[in-house]
């Protein structure tokens, strides 16, 4: 891994710069012209019923959705985050959109609307088996035999295709869209859906529970190490649609899975809503790695348009010695409201959170994590890097809680913020609650300007200013980038540079 890292780093910083120069502002800003079927605009019980009917869901799931919807109508939108959000009209959104060619389910990739396939080609998603690592620059740094990544692609409200199903099936791994899982594996879905993030959890999670359209489902059986990385690509394409995906990952006793998630959306003037829920369940000795590169459309330089990203992600380390690692690179979205968390219930369980959040122009991010230590000898580690440029506001918000039973629990938190320019803001709001004398908690946070001397050094070596900033920022983020799977790390480094484009000089 270390040998690979060096390769990537040397190669990529240069490449990063080239990308910055060669690229438009937002690479994924195009919209595909695909005929869509929409549910009527707005949100009411009928829409919830319609979504459920479209997905041919069983009665219990419809009831759960309706219960969620009723609860949601009684809830108030949270306002505690350091976010300035224009009022959201929930009745002005489409809650369900589906590519027309999907009326009849495609039997194979050949039947999928070619326009849709081109969309994925543009996204650089390796949909076909031979496309391993295709579209990911820096692939030459990968081992010669290549690495397989199984992909589930979600387009607006519908999961389009899932690759490598057969090979995964041989290992006993279930990887499919959540709608398919509801049909094929109802017992698993019923057992775990809502068990980590209940439909009473918060405003956006409750909304998601009522209208979630699609998302991925993963089940790794006892003792199985998932033979390849699993990946989901989310794309919002249609105008005025919200995307409400729901992901559920279960790692049974002793299982291991690494899951990657990427997101993009077209460039539109209106704000689009994204309210997802991700639930992870790790049983005894299981390990889940969840990596995200979030690159939703951030809006233009004036702050017009962009995705409102309200996401509830939570892992339940239910079993003893289970382990969950969240890694996120948040560069997109006009607004990010997201706190991937770990409930460390099992004794000796571990949670980790590595995050890079970059905001530029008028972007706002309020993101962080919660580590709730319930079991004995539980450990958690938080490394958060916030970078703020332009007129952006970037907040780390986190909770570390040591319950009275969490004897010998351990936490280490580091959150650093970097400010580029005098009009942006960087904020840190950690909560630390220690209720056990043998638990140990350490928290440190720093905020500083991008170092002039480092920039000067780079400039004196012939780099231009943007190059120098990209290099220094990549160095600042290094600990988090190293926690990412290799192909994501490559993409993330480039994103870091692109996101900061225009922030200096």
């Amino acid at each position: 891994m270390t040998a690979l890292d060096t390769n990537v780093k040397d190669g990529v910083d240069r490449e990063t710069i080239e990308t910055v120069h060669s690229m438009g502002k937002y690479k994924y800003g195009w919209a595909s012209d695909i005929e869509m079927d929409y549910a009527p605009k707005g949100l009411n019980e009928d829409i919830v019923r319609l979504i459920s009917a479209k997905k041919e869901e069983p009665e219990w799931l419809l009831e759960w959705r309706l219960d969620s919807f009723r609860r949601w109508t009684q809830m108030r939108e949270p306002d505690w985050a350091m976010l300035n959000i224009a009022p959201i009209d929930y009745q002005e959104q489409y809650y369900y959109a589906q590519p027309r060619s999907f009326r009849e389910k495609p039997k194979s990739l050949n039947e999928v609307d070619p326009e849709l396939l081109r969309t994925y080609e543009k996204l650089g998603i390796p949909l076909k088996e031979q496309m391993i690592l295709a579209g990911v620059e820096g692939a030459e740094a990968a081992p010669a035999e290549g690495r397989k990544v199984a992909v589930d692609a979600v387009f607006d409200s519908v999961s389009v295709v899932t690759t490598f199903k057969e090979e995964l099936g041989r290992a006993g791994v279930i990887f499919c869209s959540i709608s398919e899982a509801v049909r094929e594996h109802p017992e698993l879905v019923k057992k775990y859906l809502g068990s980590v993030v209940p439909n009473t959890d918060n405003y956006f999670a409750t909304l998601n529970s009522a209208v979630f359209s699609d998302g991925s489902f993963v089940y790794v059986p006892e003792g199985v190490r998932c033979p390849m990385e699993l990946s989901t690509y989310f794309r919002i394409n249609a105008e005025n649609t919200g995307q409400f995906e729901r992901t559920l990952i279960i790692a049974d006793k002793g299982a291991y899975v690494s899951y990657l998630e990427g997101c993009t959306a077209p460039q539109r003037d209106e704000n689009q809503l994204h309210a997802a829920v991700v639930e992870l369940v790790a049983l005894e000795d299981a390990e889940i790695k969840y990596s995200t590169v979030q690159n939703w459309y951030p809006g233009d330089e004036e702050g017009k348009g962009g995705i409102y990203n309200f996401v509830t992600k939570r892992a339940d380390c239910r079993g003893a010695r289970s382990k969950v690692m969240w890694t996120q690179v948040e560069t997109g979205s006009a607004i990010t409201w997201k706190y991937p968390s770990c409930i460390l219930r099992g004794d000796d369980s571990q949670g980790e959170f590595y995050s890079i959040a970059i905001t530029n122009n008028a972007q706002q991010a309020d993101t962080g994590t919660k580590m709730v230590h319930l079991g004995r000898n539980t450990k958690s580690r938080i490394v958060s890097k916030g970078i703020s440029a332009g007129r952006a506001q970037n907040t780390y918000r986190g909770l570390v809680s040591m319950h009275p039973r969490a004897a010998n629990a351990r936490n280490y938190t580091q959150c650093d913020s970097l400010l580029i320019g005098s009009d942006c803001g960087a904020h840190t709001v950690p909560y630390i609650e220690v209720r056990n004398p043998t638990a140990r908690c350490e928290h440190e946070a720093t905020t500083s300007k991008i170092a002039e001397d480092q920039l000067f050094y780079c400039r004196s070596r012939g780099m231009d200013e943007e190059e120098a900033v990209a290099l220094v920022v990549n160095g600042f983020c290094k600990e988090v980038l190293q926690a990412l799977p290799m192909e994501f790390a490559v993409e993330a480094q480039k994103l870091v540079a692109i996101s900061l484009e225009g922030s200096v000089g």
Binding site: P404, L419, G425, V434, P437, E442, E444, T447, K449
Partner: protein
């Protein structure tokens, strides 16, 4: 935001307090404005974010002010051996008859009640003004209540290097609440030290430090059985220095808020504290440091030693305004938990709108270092003595924030006494 419930609670709070009579017009106006502000803010409630860790119910119970009485002089003992001008307050009433002569070179000092009946410019510039400015971002209703009704306390104006510290010793007898307000102005280049011993139920001190002035404050609160809320508001001018330290030991429920604004360039503000808790003690230190000018330097250093079922709370914030470049902000909060059942709850915040700054905070919690204890015990040091050595060393970083050596040693002695007397 006030709701019907918080507004009602605010009304009940005010209802219990008689409106002072015979005051100057500007004071009456300011009190009326404070009443309006209090209704707008509402009384604090448990669900308020700012009261997440401390239940305000016992602090917002309507105040029935204690009657006059003679209590034995106990509080001042906290500063035994310190050369100071001793001013006694009993049940929240100033007692010049039981105090040292207050006058000394470089200091104008008078009972607040007398000042508020006149039109004295320094009081007019400060009273209720610094408190109101300190309501930015988060409301502090208990301080507004104080502005609306407090009449007892001192007005001080230092216009030179004041030689002796002013020690305000507060004793109480019987039940009943006390409402105390001090207004302090340190003129350019002047310096003043104020010591406080004992805690009234609700006390507010407003301190305006003019350019180049120096203000030092040390407060000791020990074994207070009644709940208490204190507020210290300060505006620190260009090149001025402000330092405050509070030792809180075993208070039933103490909420200390320190709200300072580094308003002039090159201002310096240090806020420190030590908490020693046992039994059911609950000590909350809430600090809000605002950097409004360039080259400001601020420090927050808090140490908590928590035994029994005691709770230590630290909410600290560094707020750097846009344009407050070259700010250097530092904050550390650390806790040692000695027993099962003790808790430390912290929220150390940074909110920063200027880029050329250096701000950091750290927070740690844990038990006493087992290896250090083992080492000492293996050298024949008894367990209690070893614990005391480690605790005293731990607390010392905060104690060292006190400017004066003699005061430092006095506080060290209090910490040692507490460790020795701990159940």
């Amino acid at each position: 935001m006030a709701t019907d419930a918080t507004r009602k609670a605010a009304e009940a709070l005010l209802h219990a307090l008689a409106l002072p009579e015979g005051e100057a017009g500007w004071v009456r106006e300011r009190r009326a404005a404070a009443r309006t502000r209090l209704f707008e803010a509402g009384a604090p409630m448990r669900r308020d974010e700012y009261w997440r860790f401390t239940d305000p119910a016992r602090l917002t119970a309507p105040l029935a002010l204690a009657g006059a009485g003679d209590a034995p002089a106990q509080a001042a003992a906290a500063f035994a051996g310190i050369d100071a001008v001793r001013v006694r307050m009993v049940n929240g009433r100033l007692r010049p008859d039981l105090s040292d002569p207050m006058e000394q070179a470089g200091l104008a000092i008078a009972p607040l009640g007398a000042v508020l009946r006149q039109d004295i410019s320094i009081a007019r510039e400060i009273f209720g003004r610094l408190e109101a400015a300190g309501q930015e971002k988060v409301s502090r209703p208990l301080a507004i209540l104080n502005t609306a009704a407090a009449t007892e306390g001192l007005a001080m104006q230092a216009h030179g290097a004041v030689a002796l510290p002013v020690l305000i010793a507060h004793d109480r007898i019987g039940e009943g609440a006390s409402l105390v307000r001090h207004v302090v102005r340190v003129e350019a280049g002047a310096s003043l030290t104020v010591l406080e011993a004992g805690v009234p139920t609700n006390s507010v001190m407003e301190v305006d430090v003019a350019p180049g002035g120096r203000f030092h404050h040390v407060r000791v609160q020990t074994g207070e059985r009644a709940p208490a809320a204190t507020h210290l508001f300060a505006r620190i001018g260009e090149g001025a220095e402000f330092k405050t330290f509070t030792l809180t030991a075993d208070g039933a429920l103490t909420r200390n808020e320190v709200v300072i604004d580094l308003a002039g360039d090159h201002a310096s503000g240090h806020v420190a504290g030590a908490v020693l808790g046992q039994g059911e003690a609950h000590a909350d230190n809430t600090v809000f440091v605002t950097h409004s000018a360039e080259h400001g330097e601020s420090r927050q250093v808090f140490k908590n030693v928590l035994a029994g079922r005691s709770r230590g709370i630290f909410q600290g914030k560094i707020f750097v305004r846009k344009g407050a470049q070259k700010t250097d902000g530092y904050q550390i909060s650390q806790s040692v938990l000695l027993d099962e059942g003790a808790q430390f709850l912290a929220k150390p915040e940074l909110e920063i709108y200027a880029d050329d700054v250096k701000c950091s905070h750290g927070s740690t919690t844990g038990a006493l270092d087992a290896t250090a204890l083992f080492y000492l015990r293996s050298r024949g040091v008894p367990k209690r003595v070893a614990e005391a050595m480690l605790v005293e060393a731990f607390v010392d970083e905060a104690v060292a924030e006190i400017a004066d050596q003699g005061l430092q040693d006095r506080v060290r002695a209090l910490v040692a006494d507490w460790m020795a007397g701990r159940a």
